[in-house]
Symmetry: C2
Subunit: 352 residues, 2 copies
DNA sequence: TTGAAAGCGCTAACAC
DNA sequence: GTGTTAGCGCTTTCAA
């Protein structure tokens, strides 16, 4: 491979020579300029400008500094919710002058652990993740103990002193289910998978609360993956005994349900009323526009990232920092699958 | 900030001591083991295993090596097409033992240039991007000259010797428009924005080819952004003179069109036939399932990433490498918005 | 307030 | 085949 004769890197010593000072002085100026006289600072800054000096990050890291990079781990980028979230995190990071190392855990704890290790070994300044790990059994606690700020999104890791940004899952679900009850439904089933995740668990809680409050019997259908949804619907909706309404616990479940109902020839909301957690991009254009609990992935990512940079900026070690838990609101978007009439997004439909 | 007493990093010299050899020998073993006797190699590997040694990437980079990181720049992660693509790239990178630095250019060339610089200054092993830059006026050419392998996805940068993975845009569009013509339409308009992008340009080309071939007059509606779509549709579809069919140039255009048509009370396919480029996740569940040209974002990302790692592995300098251009196929998915009857995804509908 | 020296962990170049 | 030396660019001491 031929050496390329492009402009060679300008180093701190080039700047020092240009400004007629020691490297150390340049370093001080670059890092905030404490203990450097105004006149020298000015000279150094001019030299930096003139030479186009950019600090070499590898050298800083080698000396034990943190990289100007944050790590982000999401289950997958192929899901709109997570990718929107990642987009927001990345935007905030850029605004703070950081780059973003993004990895996907494929919803697997071992993968997540490996990725955390890789990121830490690259001295990321902070870690933001939608965790698979439920309890701080593994690497995460160690990592935090070693001084890396951590923010979890959408879920929590028990026993970890990380900051958390969550969503009003229970309240959001409660509101949706109450709306179905208001429509007169007595038999409302609740369908979903990944029920051990905090977010899903809380939604089930909200569903249960609303049902109990109305004196109704909760009916929870847990499946082990989205693939099992057509089968369970087939089975449960066969007889005349089936529920008259359904609450789906996330967007994938809603979509799978929609496909299954279409195949089975079940019409919304006549044969079955439906409300789901998570908005769908095209929800209002569907054959029957779907009533949903909307949560903002963008807000989740943005808030989480800002929280992380607060921690990074403060420089306080994670253990000494009080734990922050932010909970973002949800919004019930009433369309037609619940039984409401009227134009899509018609404000009148909300009148109760 | 307190020093943490967790297991301190094990370095190459720890391994050397443990194995009773020089650091250099350990380095050789780690980097492939050339010129090291089998017995010594074995001893060194055992020491590495025993101590859990992980090479320090910052130190390697400082010595001028490439990072085991690739850079990926997409316009945004908030668009399913790009995020699916990013997901695929990241998966491939993981399989090759690399991490992925993802940035979004927000469709702005200046941002893209800055991000390229930041990535290069971190010694990424390669760069994969959906470029905004149309001509290799800027940084990209320099970067390539300096020996960083580059792959562009979905678009090309003129004058750059990068490898490219593209989509059969023209043929795909042609096929869709021919299908509309087959339905008997004579007045078919073509709607979209970002028309200077290669992908969109090629789709327009395909549209034009199909129209000319049938002796029909092309009618191209270019708007400057997706926001202008409702307005132009309002204007153009008002009189009785309007077209009887519409071909939309990307998924955002299709979605905006759908919303606008709904507002205007225009029914598909009775009042207007529609076919679009790019599949929509829920296309088959819409009031009228949409006929689309499907392209695989996953395949685009996967293929591009593999191509990049071929380049990285080969170690040949980019200029000496023959330019590769891969073109992925598209698929016409016939649903109902074009005027075809029958169940959604019904194979019979394709019978011509 | 400024500077000199040492060394972070690694590998290229050159001994032996 | 294996070891020694030097130094990548920066910041942490410590001295002035």
């Amino acid at each position: 491979m031929p050496k390329d004769p492009t402009r060679k890197k300008v180093t701190i010593s080039d700047v020092a020579r240009e400004a007629g000072v020691a490297q150390m002085t340049v370093s001080r100026v670059v890092n905030g300029g404490n203990y450097v006289s105004a006149s020298v600072q000015k000279r150094v800054r001019e030299a930096i400008e003139k030479l186009g000096y950019q600090p070499n990050e590898a050298a800083r890291i080698l000396k034990g500094q943190k990289a100007r990079i944050i790590g982000l781990i999401v289950p997958t980028l192929a899901d709109t919710f997570f990718s929107t979230c990642a987009n927001a995190v990345q935007e905030v990071a850029t605004r703070y002058g950081y780059m973003t190392l993004i990895q996907t855990s494929s919803s697997r704890t071992e993968v997540e652990t490996t990725e955390i290790d890789m990121m830490v070994s690259r001295n990321v300044a902070g870690l933001i993740l939608i965790p698979m790990e439920q309890k701080a059994s593994g690497r995460l606690a160690e990592v935090q103990a070693s001084g890396v700020p951590i923010v979890t999104l959408d879920r929590v890791v028990k026993g970890l002193n990380a900051n958390e940004v969550l969503v009003e899952n229970a309240l959001g679900a409660e509101e949706a289910v109450r709306h179905l009850i208001w429509h007169g439904h007595k038999q409302i089933a609740c369908l979903g998978y990944d029920t051990e995740l905090l977010s899903i668990h809380e939604r089930i809680q909200g569903y249960t609360n609303a049902m109990r409050e109305a004196g109704l019997q909760p009916q929870i259908w847990k499946v082990d993956s989205s693939k099992s949804i057509p089968a369970i619907l087939q089975r449960k909706l066969e007889g005349a005994q089936g529920p008259t309404a359904l609450f789906t616990l996330n967007n994938v479940t809603t979509i799978q349900t929609l496909h299954a109902l279409q195949t089975m020839g079940i019409k919304l909301p006549k044969d079955l009323a439906l409300a789901g957690f998570d908005d769908l991009e095209l929800a209002s254009l569907l054959t029957v526009p779907i009533t949903v609990v909307r949560q903002s992935a963008h807000e989740l990512g943005r808030t989480g990232a800002k929280l992380l940079f607060d921690m990074i900026r403060s420089g306080v070690s994670p253990k000494e920092m009080p734990k922050t838990r932010l909970i973002l609101p949800t919004e019930l978007v009433i369309r037609n699958s619940c039984g409401c009439k009227g134009t899509v997004e018609d404000p009148l439909a909300k009148s109760h």
